[in-house]
């Protein structure tokens, strides 16, 4: 073999190896989808979306309370977490001094790495114990605590992508700083901020561990936010470890619905950002 051929062979081999690794990365996704769809599709029916769980031992019933519960918890988390996260990001990007921002950013990155079960214990101690009971509030708060540092960092990053020229142009027009930030810098980065929020919500939609200590789960409707509330991941967990075949089937169905929900959020993010995160001239 000539040097030329050998070199060519090495190149092809390298390309093949990297491609194989890339395939390996997405392989689990394909496996998960295949398995969840195969096992879950049989139990996904009208009842699943409309009926409450049946009492132990009775077949049938559905997970409507868990589906609604998951949306309620995400709504609460967004209600508490989005303003704090986005405004925190605005501070880091627009106002913060170098030192202060560095520390806040550093700590937010640590927070992003905290295992979610620890958040569950923290909120158990801070909310559940004083309120003397598990509640939707506690579940919403724990999810909010997880998304706040995430949203803060992504918001900061997309705001930083807005060229400084827009800030200067706005201020040179005699526009007050906060207005320039909200209506010009913020509007320019809006897509990116919404994207960050959606991705954060998609991440916590499947959180189970922190909800075990806070929202707890509920086989019935929660009639107020101060009661324990059902959530899809919790329901999947309790059904999957149960001894009943019918519950196993429903756990698979729940997994399928949850997976589709997260996929849907990710797809909408794709559609939303088909152009760019930040508009620029």
């Amino acid at each position: 073999m000539t040097t030329h051929h050998w070199r060519k062979f090495k190149n092809v081999a390298m390309q093949a190896i990297t491609f194989a690794c890339a395939l390996l990365v997405i392989l689990p996704l394909a496996l998960v989808f295949y398995h969840v769809v195969k096992s879950g599709i049989g139990a996904v029916n009208w009842d699943f979306f409309t009926k409450l769980p049946k009492p132990v031992g009775e077949a049938g019933g559905g997970m409507v309370n868990a589906i609604v519960g998951t949306f309620a918890l995400l709504g609460l988390a967004a209600f508490i977490g989005v303003p704090v996260g986005v405004l925190g990001g605005v501070y880091l990007s627009e106002y913060g001094g170098r030192r202060v921002s560095w520390w806040i950013r550093f700590m937010a990155d640590i927070l992003n790495g905290v295992p979610s079960i620890i958040w569950g214990i923290v909120v158990y101690a801070l909310v559940v114990v004083p309120m003397k009971g598990f509640s939707a509030w506690a579940g919403g708060i724990v999810l909010a605590m997880i998304i706040v540092p995430l949203i803060m960092r992504t918001s900061e990053e997309v705001l930083q992508l807005v060229p400084n020229g827009y800030r200067e142009a706005a201020l040179a027009l005699g526009i007050v700083r906060w207005r320039a930030i909200v209506q010009i810098v913020g509007r320019t980065a809006l897509k990116g901020i919404v994207t960050g929020v959606l991705l954060a919500l998609a991440r916590v939609a499947g959180e189970t561990a922190p909800l075990l200590f806070t929202a707890f789960g509920n086989r019935f409707w929660a009639h107020s936010l101060s009661q324990p509330i059902a959530a899809l991941p919790l329901q999947i967990f309790s059904y999957a470890i149960s001894p009943y075949d019918d519950w196993h089937r429903q756990a698979w169905a729940g997994a399928l619905v949850l997976l589709l929900l997260v996929t849907l959020i990710n797809v909408s993010v794709r559609v939303l950002t088909r152009e760019r995160f930040v508009k620029s001239a």
């Binding site: 200067e168 142009a169 040179a172 027009l173 005699g174 509007r187 320019t188 809006l190 001239a281």
Partner: protein, 278 residues
């Protein structure tokens, strides 16, 4: 908030009276700068600059890169307020009023002193018309009729009206580079400032677009005081009434453009305008 609104309304009521050229000399100077020094952290960029900029004239600021011309220009509308490590010392008076006085609001100063930047920067989320009126709208002016009127007026002054009048709702970033820069000029004019600062407004444009901007500046001189930073000496010679030459953070020479380019008093000015360095 109140202060701004009041000044916005006053600005609306005030009628703009173009001063005849001969009267320009009698008017108080637009800027009186005394011992202006600016440093960023340890680095001093501007060293005790003093000069008077006459109203309703075009003043060109020339000098090699890094000589402090942009730094000087940005001190005139308090843009350095945004840079935490910037330190501005000395005195800047805008038509006799101290721009850096404790009670002077940077927002009000900037309303009176507009600015056009080197890189055209129309707001990408807004239409052409919205770009022109954004300064008014975000300062609390809502009246539709007034906004429409100002849009046309400002675009006409910026010599852009004929080109965009049929597509005012189009995205501002759909315009060409030269048009975008004229849109930025219209945006600055719409809030009716007294002075317009220009930081190399034509350096990113082709010769035709540059010629348009230059014509426009000569036109604007009737109503506005223009201070323009430029790298292009021909441009300074063509357009300005007075020229200031900056070098290494100092004001080396300042006088009528004609004299600066033909009979400079300083050796360094002569070397620069004849192209021996810079």
């Amino acid at each position: 908030m109140n202060l701004i609104r009041t000044s916005a309304e006053e600005n609306l009521r005030a009628e703009r009276q173009p001063a005849p050229a001969s009267a320009a000399a009698l008017k108080p100077p637009a800027f009186t700068v005394k011992n202006l020094s600016i440093s960023f952290g340890q680095r001093q960029v501007l060293k005790s600059v003093s000069m008077e900029i006459r109203a309703c004239t075009v003043t060109a600021i020339i000098g090699p890169s890094g000589c402090g011309k942009s730094t000087f220009l940005r001190a005139l509308n308090r843009m350095h307020d945004l840079v935490p490590e910037a330190r501005v010392q000395g005195d800047v008076r805008l038509f006799g009023e101290d721009s850096y006085a404790k009670e002077a609001e940077p927002v009000v100063v900037r309303r009176r002193v507009g600015m056009v930047f080197q890189k055209s920067n129309p707001f990408p989320t807004m239409s052409i018309a919205d770009n022109v009126t954004v300064g008014l709208r975000l300062n609390g002016i809502r009246a539709r009729s007034l906004l429409t009127e100002r849009t046309e007026q400002a675009l006409r002054m910026a010599a852009l009206w004929e080109e965009v009048k049929d597509r005012l709702d189009a995205q501002a970033i759909s315009l060409s580079g030269g048009q975008q820069q004229r849109l930025c000029i219209a945006r600055a004019l719409a809030v009716q400032p007294q002075v317009v600062l220009m930081d190399e407004p034509a350096s990113a444009l082709d010769p035709l677009a540059t010629a348009k901007i230059e014509d426009l500046i000569l036109e604007l001189k009737r109503d506005y005081t223009i201070v323009i930073v430029t790298h292009n000496m021909q441009q300074a010679a063509r357009m300005s009434d007075e020229t200031a030459f900056f070098y290494l953070g100092e004001l080396i020479e300042f006088g009528p453009t004609n004299r600066i380019f033909t009979r400079p008093k300083e050796k360094r000015t002569e070397d620069y305008v004849t192209g021996r360095f810079g």
